[in-house]
């Protein structure tokens, strides 16, 4: 791996992702970054998100319309509300045994898995019942 710098922009982006817990998109991160650094560009945000993901410092999750980012905590699963689109971390334990189980059955190397639940969140359920 080639030497990588630790620029102000990269630090800022990592800081933003680490300090919000709402799984922001690249655009949301860009908007917040701009409040701290008026000159920062979208490309810098996208590039650094990619680098930080490659470094294993943040996690990228595919969702309808665009990807969402979050700091690495420990492996966990997500829930997306199909009404409002909000994303939540689930309180379920990460089941690493199924990686091994799949590896055994297929002969593949299985490094991880991602699970996204779908349904309706408490907030939207409340609105519906009115």
């Amino acid at each position: 791996m080639k030497a990588q710098r630790n620029t102000k922009q990269r630090q800022l982006i990592l800081w933003i992702v680490s300090n919000r817990h709402d799984h922001p998109t690249a655009e949301q991160i860009y908007l917040e970054a701009k409040t701290k650094n008026k000159k920062i560009s979208r490309s810098t945000v996208y590039r650094n998100l990619g680098i930080l993901v490659a470094q294993g410092k943040i996690i990228q999750t595919k969702m309808p319309t665009s990807d969402h980012f979050e700091a690495v905590i420990k492996d966990h699963y997500h829930f997306v509300c199909s009404k409002c689109g909000a994303i939540f971390d689930t309180p379920l334990d990460y089941d690493s045994t199924i990686n091994d189980s799949l590896a055994e059955k297929t002969g593949f190397v299985v490094t991880k898995h991602r699970t996204v639940f779908e349904g309706i969140c408490a907030e939207c359920l409340k609105k519906e019942s009115k």
Copy 2:
């Protein structure tokens, strides 16, 4: 739900998705559709894929760069090779109990979950060891 027709194009698209087992993208489906119907347009493919997904006849899975489609068989999980990008169905059983478990813990309505495994497929492992 408003009345929906069953056009030749829609039938063709469903037929294509049902008859290949390689999880094609919209573009791949479009290309195959064009061999049977030279006039068909991309928009028709996209529109019908959306309708077929809404009808529950096919499944859409988010993957890097673009979505992939497949006929509904039964709930199952996918594996993506991080080397070659190939997608496979896994031989693992779908665990519906975790939906209930999450619903219980959160008070959300949980309709389903999707899991994607990541790693290196047998084919690529073979190449690597040379």
